[in-house]
Subunit: 335 residues, 2 copies
C-alpha cells in the first residue's frame, strides 16, 4: 500500500529550466512505471521526454495523482498553477507536493479537494502518528547509507543498489526518508519534520519485520559529523538497526555543507563512528562498501580516486550512479 | 526574561500522595524564591510546607502564575480542577502545565484566558520557531550532562552544580531542556517535542553568546546508548557545543530504561563516545567529572562505589545530590 496513489501525471508547470524539474526527473528515472505523462504550461522550459497529456488524457491513461514535480523560487505554490491544480482535483486526481508552502495551506485547494473527495499530500509533513522506538530486533535485513556530509549522494546510492538488486532478482525495497524520495516511491517518512521523540520509532515503522532474504535500502539523512542535523542521522542508525552500512562521500567539497568552519571527516573516521553507534542497536552490523559521488570529476580522475580509496580502506568502492552498483551489491549478497 | 512569569502559586489540586506533587517539590527545592505559596483542594494528600493561600492572598503576595505542580493518572487536566483554574484566570493569573493533555486543548480555559487576557503555558509544546543550527562558536562556557541511560540524574546533576556555583559567586545558569526543568526555572526548550531539523538549533538558541566567565549548565536528555532517544542526545551535544561534559550513571539498573534487551554501557564507553562526538563541535571539550545517582544504595555502599569509580576512571566522582557538587565544581573552575 502506497501513501500516494500511483501512477502519476507529472506537473512541470512553468518550470524555468530543466533543473527546476529535478523531482519529476527523479520519479521518471527511478520509477518509470509511475511516470505516465507530463503536464506542461505555457512557457515551460523543462521536458522529461514523456508524452504531454491533458488532464482528460492522463485520466484515461490511468493516472491517479498529479505530482508537483517542479520547484520554483521560494518553494511556493504559484498562483499561475492554481487554475490547473483546481481543474486536476475536479477531474478526480489527488495532488502531491514536496514544496515548503503546503497544499493544505491553500484554502481554495482545500475547499475543492473536500468537495471532490480528493486527497492533498504534502510530503514535507508526517501523516502518521509514529511510535516511540522499542529497539526490538526485526526479521529481514537492512542497509543504511551514511555520509561524511549532507547531500553527498546517499539517496542515489540506495536507489542504484535497489535497481541492481532487483535486476538480479533480489528482494529489496528503497525506503525513503526525505521528500524527494517519498515522491519518487509514493511512500516513506519525512524524517526532518518528525518530532524528536518519535524519530527512531518512525524508522522502525518504515522498516518493519520482513522476509528473511529481504533488504530495506534506507535513504540516509544528514551526517553524524554535521552539527545541524546529526541527531537525525543518529535516529536513523538506531531506528534502522542496519545490518550493513555504505559510506558515502563527495571528494571535492571544501567544507561541511552550510558550515564554513567545519571540514569534512575522513572516510575512516566515518566508518569508525558510524559502526560503533550502529553496533549499539545491532552488534552484527558491518560496513560493506563505499560510494563516491564523482559528479565534479572527469572520468579518469574519478576512476583513480575510487581505486585509491578502495586500496586505502580495503572496502568495495564505486560511484554507483556513474559506474554501476554491482560492487556494492556483490558485497551485500555475500553477507 | 522568563517564558513563564514568576513567582508562582503552586497548584497541588487533589494530589493523592506526596510523590504526585514532584514537579511542585522540584520548584520549591530549586527555585524557592519562585515558590510563594501552595494551593490545595479538598482531599489533597501532598504538602510542600509552604503557606496555603487562596487565589486572592497569592495575588496580594505578588504571584503571577498558577503552576500545575501535580501529575495525576494519565497526565490529564482533571474536571475537579477546572473550577479553580477558571477562577485563577479570572483573578489574573497565567496558567502553566507540563501535563500531556494541554491547557490549550480545553475550550473553556481557552475562552476564559482570552477574555481575561491571560496566557496558557503548555511546556510540553515549543512556543518558539527555532532556527537551524549554524555551528558558529559562541562566547561563554557550557557544560552538558550526558548519561549511560535515560533518567539517571542529569537534571539534578546540573541543578546541584548551579546551586554550588552560585554559592561560590560563580556566573552560572541551569538551562532546562525538559518540561520539569522548564517549570522549575520558568524557561527552556522542550527538546523532545521539537521537530527534528531544529533540535540542535533550539539548543544554540537556549545557550547564546554570554560573558566569558559564564557557564550554561545544560540539562541532558536521553542517552547516546538509548536507541529510542539517542538522536535527541546527539542534537544536544552538537547544538550545545559543550566545553565540559559530566558523565551520569545509576549503578543498580539491570537494563536500559524501557529496553529489556539492552544492557547499560560502561562509563568508559560513554566517555569515549560522547567526547569524540562533542569534539566535532568543540575540539576543546573535556570530560570533567562523574555523577553517580546512589539513591538505591545505602550510604556506605554508595561511598565505596564512588571511590571505586573515581579510582578506575581517574575523574572527580560524587553523588552531587547526596554528597554535594563541590568536586564537580572544583573541576569546572579549573578549566
Amino acid at each position: 500500500m502506497s501513501l500516494i496513489e500511483t501512477p502519476y501525471l507529472l506537473f512541470l508547470g512553468d518550470a524555468p529550466d530543466q533543473l527546476a524539474a529535478k523531482v519529476a526527473q527523479g520519479i521518471k528515472d527511478w520509477r518509470p512505471e509511475f511516470a505516465v505523462g507530463q503536464f506542461r504550461m505555457e512557457g515551460c522550459k523543462a521536458d522529461l521526454g514523456l508524452p504531454d497529456m491533458t488532464l482528460e488524457e492522463a485520466k484515461a491513461a490511468g493516472c491517479k495523482t498529479l505530482v508537483i514535480g517542479v520547484a520554483n523560487r521560494g518553494g511556493v505554490i504559484s498562483q499561475a498553477w492554481k487554475k490547473e491544480l483546481v481543474a486536476a482535483l475536479e477531474e478526480g486526481f489527488d495532488l502531491a507536493s514536496g514544496l515548503h508552502n503546503l497544499l493544505r495551506g491553500e484554502p481554495d485547494l482545500v475547499a475543492v479537494a473536500e468537495a471532490c473527495g480528493r486527497s492533498l499530500h504534502d510530503v514535507r509533513v508526517p501523516e502518521v502518528d509514529y511510535p516511540i522506538a522499542n529497539g526490538v530486533k526485526r526479521s529481514g535485513k537492512r542497509l543504511l547509507a551514511v555520509g561524511t556530509d549532507c547531500s553527498v549522494g546517499k539517496m542515489y546510492t540506495a536507489l542504484c543498489m535497489e535497481r541492481e538488486m532487483r535486476e538480479r532478482g533480489m528482494n529489496a525495497d528503497f525506503r525513503a526518508t526525505g521528500q524527494t524520495g517519498i515522491l519518487i516511491t509514493g511512500d516513506g517518512v519525512p524524517l526532518d519534520a518528525v518530532v524528536a521523540d518519535f524519530m527512531a520509532g518512525s524508522i522502525e515503522w518504515l522498516t518493519p519485520d520482513n522476509d528473511a532474504d529481504h533488504w530495506d535500502l534506507i535513504e540516509g539523512q544528514g551526517s553524524l559529523f554535521h552539527v545541524s542535523y546529526s541527531g537525525v542521522t543518529m535516529a536513523l542508525i538506531h531506528g534502522g538497526q542496519p545490518d550493513a552500512l555504505v559510506l558515502c562521500h563527495e571528494p571535492t567539497r571544501a567544507h561541511m555543507r552550510g558550515l564554513p568552519g567545519y571540514s569534512l571527516p575522513g572516510l575512516d573516521a566515518l566508518r569508525d563512528l558510524a559502526l560503533q553507534i550502529a553496533k549499539v542497536g545491532n552488534p552484527a552490523c558491518q560496513v560493506v562498501g563505499i560510494s563516491i559521488n564523482t559528479q565534479n570529476m572527469p572520468e579518469a580522475e574519478a576512476r583513480a580516486y575510487i581505486a585509491k580509496v578502495e586500496a586505502e580502506m580495503g572496502l568495495p568502492t564505486t560511484d554507483p550512479f556513474r559506474f554501476g552498483a554491482a560492487k556494492l551489491v556483490d558485497a551485500l549478497a555475500a553477507i
